[in-house]
Structure formats: structure tokens, C-alpha cells
């Protein structure tokens, strides 16, 4: 087995375009099992796009993604007869059950209780029965300190609590990779720490993670590797230690700008 296929995730020449505009230039990236990769960069640099290409929520325009030894390519355009796309779609659906994702805006389901939010995936994609799914959901909620809120609706929760539910919802499916897209950016400052702590624990437990964040302290502490993106491409990557003296002027300028608020 070659070194490249033993990576959990590999992006080969992945690009993303919206119409005429290229949002992600050809990008190569490998993420090893157990590795924590933090992605930093100015707003609009393509960080979210990169993450969303990984689980095909925004399918790449070109390129290949290899996840756990399986290759995934941009889905064909079945505009005329969408049903033809179903087999491809099912394959991507299976990919997504193995890749958890946590969003800046939480995206919890407001019409379901906290428990139902977590149980939904267990029932529909893992095929658990209602009882078993509910029990697993409560267990999973316990791990993020949300078991008591199992019967509540999201509107009754703080942002930090919603994000914990979203994390439990993703972790319940036992993903091999977790994607965090600015998971703490929409939170009140006093709620950030709790969510970051969950992410720290997860990293310490060996989870493979790609984390888009503006929390430089977190990135420096937790990351095995930091990636700096700008204008739709990876400018520079290295260990947190290496990021203390960045190679590129753009990286330096960015780090300076966020350090000064």
C-alpha cells in the first residue's frame, strides 16, 4: 500500500467554481488518521468551500476526493432525468454518514426535540429502531453535557447548547472525520470556551478533524497542522511551531490583523 492511500482523506486537484468565478483553485491535501488540521484565513478565502467539498455538500467542480480508500468524483449532471443520479447520490450519502460536520449557524432542526435531532440520523442512516436510537441519542447528549435537555426544543437553548446538540448529532453516527466550520463564531463570548473544550477533548481522543477557526490559541494548542488559505488557495501550511514565524507575507499580515482584533 502506498503512503497516499493510507491517508484518511486525500484531495487531488480539487476545484470549485460558481458559474464563472473560481472559488477554490486546484488544491491538493492529505489528512492522516488522527490528525487535527486547523484552517485559517480571511473571510471569503474559501475555507468553508474547502470543507464543503470534502463531504460533497458543495460538490467540487473538478478533481478527486479519496476518503478511507474510496474515490469520489464530481457527480455528473443529470439535469434532464434527475433519477439517473440516484446511485451516485446514494454513494455520497454513505460518505456523509462517515464525515460529521458542525456549522457556524448550528443548523439544528427546530421542529424536532434535542433527542430527536440526534436520533434522526441514527434511525434513518444507521437503521436503528426508535427505542435504540433514542437511547443512543441520550447517551451521546450526555457526552456533551446536554442529556437533561433531551426533551427541549432548540429554541429553548442558548447558542452554545445548540452547538453541543449539533456536535452530538454528528458524533452519534461515529464519523471517521469531523469537519468544524467556525463552530464558535456565532456564539456569545462566554459560551465559546465550553464548545472549544469539547473539541479539545475530541482531538485528544484521537478524532481526525478539519477545523476552520479564528481561535488562534485553539489552533496553536490543538492542531497538528495549520493551513493558511487566501483567495481560494492554500498559501502556506505547517506545524503550529512553524506558524510562529510564517514564510509568506500574506500569512504574516493575516496573523497580525487578527491579533489586533
Amino acid at each position: 500500500m502506498s503512503a497516499s492511500t493510507s491517508s484518511l482523506l486525500e484531495l487531488r486537484q480539487v476545484t470549485k467554481q460558481f458559474g464563472e468565478t473560481t472559488v477554490l483553485h486546484p488544491t491538493d491535501l492529505q489528512v492522516e488518521r488522527g490528525e487535527v488540521v486547523c484552517v485559517i484565513g480571511p473571510s471569503g478565502s474559501g475555507k468553508s468551500t474547502l470543507l464543503r467539498c470534502v463531504n460533497f455538500i458543495a460538490p467540487p467542480t473538478t478533481g478527486t476526493i479519496v476518503f478511507d480508500g474510496e474515490e469520489y468524483r464530481p457527480p455528473k449532471d443529470h439535469r434532464w432525468i434527475p433519477a439517473l443520479g440516484i446511485p451516485e447520490e446514494q454513494r455520497l450519502t454513505r460518505l456523509r454518514t462517515q464525515v460529521g460536520m458542525v456549522f457556524q449557524q448550528f443548523n439544528v432542526f427546530p421542529h424536532l426535540t434535542v433527542r430527536e435531532n440526534v436520533a434522526l440520523g441514527l434511525r434513518k442512516t444507521c437503521g436503528l429502531g426508535k427505542k435504540a436510537a433514542d437511547a443512543r441519542a441520550v447517551e451521546e447528549l450526555g457526552k456533551v453535557g446536554m442529556a437533561e435537555k433531551a426533551a427541549a426544543y432548540p429554541e429553548q437553548l442558548s447558542g452554545g447548547q445548540k452547538q453541543r446538540v449539533a456536535i452530538a448529532r454528528a458524533l452519534a453516527l461515529e464519523p471517521k472525520l469531523m469537519l468544524f466550520d467556525e463552530a464558535t463564531s456565532a456564539l456569545d463570548p462566554e459560551l465559546v470556551g465550553g464548545v472549544l473544550q469539547i473539541m479539545r477533548d475530541l482531538a485528544a481522543g484521537g478524532m481526525t478533524m478539519m477545523v476552520v477557526t479564528h481561535e488562534m490559541r485553539f489552533a496553536m494548542d490543538v492542531a497538528d497542522r495549520v493551513i493558511f488559505m487566501d483567495r481560494g488557495g492554500i498559501v502556506e501550511q505547517g506545524t503550529p511551531e512553524q506558524f510562529k514565524s510564517p514564510q509568506h507575507e500574506r500569512t504574516r499580515a493575516f496573523l497580525k490583523s487578527i491579533n489586533h482584533g
Binding site: 464543503r52 463531504n55 455538500i57 439535469r79 434532464w80 432525468i81 434527475p82 447520490e89 446514494q90 450519502t93 454513505r94 456523509r96 454518514t97 464525515v99 460529521g100 460536520m101 456549522f103 449557524q105 448550528f106 443548523n107 439544528v108 432542526f109 427546530p110 421542529h111 424536532l112 426535540t113 434522526l120 440520523g121 434513518k124 442512516t125 426544543y153 432548540p154 429554541e155 429553548q156 449539533a166 448529532r169 454528528a170 453516527l173
Partner: protein, 223 residues
């Protein structure tokens, strides 16, 4: 001259009027059910990326909203029977006419309601591995339905008003009864007023019921 509003003529014929009202509500309710059921696949087809679905759906919606109800009624009741296509009772022809007309409006209401669900909901659902159909059925539709209820109620009221046209094909609805009594008793003002009041009363009840339904279904959903 003092105008005298004769209430006795209304109370004398109240049971006939109420029977007529019941029929009006029944035909409007069946019409609405047809509209609500047809509107859903129409809305989905209208949002499809496939022109094979989108184009016919758009045409249907345009026709349903553009062709006057009276013409649909005549067409389904008289014209189709005359050409030997099919023949329907006045009640069925009426309900179907209301349903076809209403389907165009319901389709637009569903479409608006679907787009009102934030795109993050779709992404959140996709991220836990739900298929497109599961995402629609379990996440998008339940949230959209709630937004669709108040404007959907307006369509019901519109169909209720439209149902008064069905007297032209001899459906013994409330308006038909009122007209009959009015002609016999020479009291058109009283009877049409009574008919109007009854329709307004039903409309209010419908609006109240919709409010209750909306609150029930909005459990947890408030943005």
C-alpha cells in the same frame, strides 16, 4: 321611506339555508383537499432542475390560475359530458373545478414555503447522511408546512367564495337556496345578506382553526 329588514323570512328558511351552507362548505373542503394534494407535486416539479418536470408544472400553474373558475366549471360539467368524455355530478364537477383552480395557488404557496426554510437546514440534513427525499420529508416539509398554513387558508376562503358559482350548474348550495327563496319571497336583500353573513362566519371559523393548527404545529419552530 324606512327600509325594513325582515328577519322572519330568514328564520323561516334557516334550515334550507344551513343545508345549502353545509353543501357549500363540503364542496369547498373537497376542492381544497384536491388543491392541497395536487399543489405539492406541482411545487416539487416546479422546483426540479429537470425541464421535463419544470415546464409542464409551470404551464399547469399558469393555466390553473389564469383560466376563470366559471369556465373550468362549465368545461368539466357540460362540455366534457357533451363530447362524451366523462360525466360528473354537479358536486364532483364543482369540487374538481375548485381543486384544479386551487392547485395553481397551492403550488405557489408551497414553493414559497420551501424557499423560506433556511438553506442550512438542507445542509444539516445532508451532513448526517439523509437522502434528498428524506431531507425533504423529515426536515424541509414539516417546517415549510407551517409557513404554508396561513396563505393556504386564504386559498380555502377563495374556494369557498368560488363555490357560490356552482349554483350555475345546479348545485343546491347556499347561494342557490338563497336565490330560490329570494325569488319566491321577493326578499332578495335579506337572503343575500344572510348568505353573505354565513360565508363570513365560516371564513372566520376557518381562520381561527388555521391559527390553532399553526400554533400546534409550530412546536419549537419560531424564527
Amino acid at each position: 321611506m324606512v327600509f325594513a329588514f325582515d328577519t322572519t323570512v330568514i328564520s323561516d328558511h334557516s334550515s334550507e339555508l344551513l343545508d345549502g351552507l353545509l353543501l357549500t362548505v363540503e364542496v369547498a373542503a373537497l376542492g381544497f383537499a384536491i388543491a392541497a394534494l395536487l399543489g405539492l407535486p406541482l411545487a416539487l416539479a416546479g422546483r426540479s432542475q429537470s425541464p421535463l418536470l419544470r415546464v409542464p408544472a409551470t404551464l399547469w400553474v399558469g393555466l390553473a390560475r389564469g383560466v376563470p373558475l366559471l369556465i373550468v366549471i362549465f368545461w368539466l360539467y357540460y362540455a366534457a359530458a357533451q363530447e362524451g368524455l366523462f360525466s360528473l355530478t354537479a358536486f364532483l364537477a364543482g369540487a374538481l373545478s375548485l381543486g384544479l383552480t386551487g392547485s395553481g395557488y397551492m403550488s405557489e404557496i408551497y414553493r414559497t414555503a420551501f424557499s423560506a426554510v433556511p438553506s442550512g437546514q438542507r445542509e444539516g440534513a445532508a451532513a448526517i447522511g439523509l437522502s434528498r427525499w428524506q431531507t425533504f420529508r423529515l426536515v424541509i416539509f414539516p417546517q415549510a408546512l407551517r409557513t404554508a398554513i396561513p396563505p393556504g387558508m386564504n386559498v380555502f376562503v377563495m374556494l369557498l367564495k368560488g363555490a357560490t358559482l356552482l349554483s350555475v350548474i345546479g348545485l343546491a348550495d347556499m347561494f342557490y337556496t338563497a336565490k330560490l327563496v329570494a325569488v319566491n319571497e321577493f326578499k332578495p336583500f335579506e337572503l343575500y345578506t344572510a348568505a353573505a353573513v354565513l360565508v363570513i362566519a365560516v371564513t372566520l371559523v376557518a381562520a381561527l382553526a388555521a391559527g390553532v393548527a399553526e400554533r400546534r404545529m409550530s412546536k419549537g419552530v419560531r424564527r
